[in-house]
Amino acid sequence: MDRLQRTLYGVASIVVLLAVWYAGGVAFPEVLPGLLETAAALVVVLTTPGPYDNMFYFHVWKTIQMLFASLIVSMIAGTLLGIILGRSETLESTVSSWIYAWLAIPSLVIVFLSAIWIGFNAKSGYFAVPLVITPFIALNMWEGARTLDEDLTEMAEFFGAGRFQTFKDVVVPQLAPFLFASFRSGLSIGWKITLLVEAFLLTRGVGFMFRRYFDQYDLPTMMSWLIIFVVFLIVVEYGVLAPLHERVMEWRPDAEGVRVTE
């Protein structure tokens, strides 16, 4: 499939979705807010200050702040934890069951506990969100660390590569696909937890807006906020992650523009 064709299919799927939405809104107005109503609500959200006189980008920015700060912390902690688990059999046998126990704790419980321990403020969020996503990332990176090629490590050792050079040129590139997968799952899980925190504990951010308009039973405005953040996540994926991934994975034989010689 070439680029034009793919774009056409993408546009077609959006048109179909909008059509179904429109029809659904007409058929079940109490369940699905009408397409036009939602569009009108979206315009209001985008142009007028909401509660506490804050514009929409203030709330989006606050949510992004918490989400990405948590992601950075979790990526570092989870990657280190995963690599340690993958490289040390002793730790693997002692710590691995704790990772599974950690994963089993419902995120809602973690959010509530943070509120009790830390209070109804943003600090709870900066505590709870990384706590929820770190084990997912650790699990992913653990898998990655187990697949590291010993032969390449030996080659690097023979030529006398130092720790830093080995890490940079031999280890990280092998972990790159796992880093991307971790970041993506961290992003999708983290955004849901950030929303929970904001809805239950805070008075700003996209999650707070959802709760506020839920309280007012304002379906079109809730829908507008959903659209705003989903669009943001799509932009992150197609605008940043996908091109970056393609660049980093350029060497793969199935990448576009392959030239096989001999």
Binding site: F159, Q165, W251
Partner: protein, 268 residues
Amino acid sequence: MTATEEETVHDDESALAEDQLELRDIVKRFEKPGQGEILVLDEVDLDVEKGSFVSLLGPSGCGKTTLMNVISGLVEPDAGTMRRGGRDVSPDDLSLGYIFQEPRLLNWKTVAGNIEFALEARDVPESEWDERIERYLEMVNLGDEGDNYPTRLSGGMKQRVAIARALATEPEIMLMDEPFSSLDEITARDLRQELLDIWNREEKTILFVTHDINEAVFLSDTVYMMNTEGKMFARRDIDIARPRQYDDPNIAEREAELYREFHEQVVE
């Protein structure tokens, strides 16, 4: 006459022995789960004369690679000495290049990038990189592939990159561990011929591990033979004039002799 000068005179007298790498009584045991300790190298001796092509011949799993790794420093022997010119040497004192059975390239780096990796690891000044990369890629007939990725090369070409990478560090001794065993015979023959040309021209010393008797006879000045008990049981010189031809009856004859010796070893 100062002490240094005396030393120089002495060195001149034993010039031949000076450059010869001598391994004596190398012992290595490995712990194998379930099997206890197994003896991989049983008091092995090995002489590698400067500029010669020496092969280590033996069946799979007989410790040939372990012996290579002892020389390269990747494996610490339990006992034994390594000497050159009457002095004990460690792997760090030797100038070595290693070509593994698999190319062991970094697939995410270009061909030139892979060579740079080795040059950086060996602390070769960055100003020399471009020149060396060009020279050694040219030498293995991959002059145009510097910017290509290894994943887009054939198996034979990848192994050529590995050879260029080892050559680029400009070692005196090249360690080669069954480098052609996973290639098809036609590609392998081309590469053997090219290797001999390089060896000749660059005056390298090559220590070559193989389980292929024909390959050992075709390539080597000297063949060391190992059995599965970790014993080096024979050293044979191959006195066939170079350049050699694959269909030379002398090669076939020598190959048959060496095979008989192996066979007797196994039967005993």
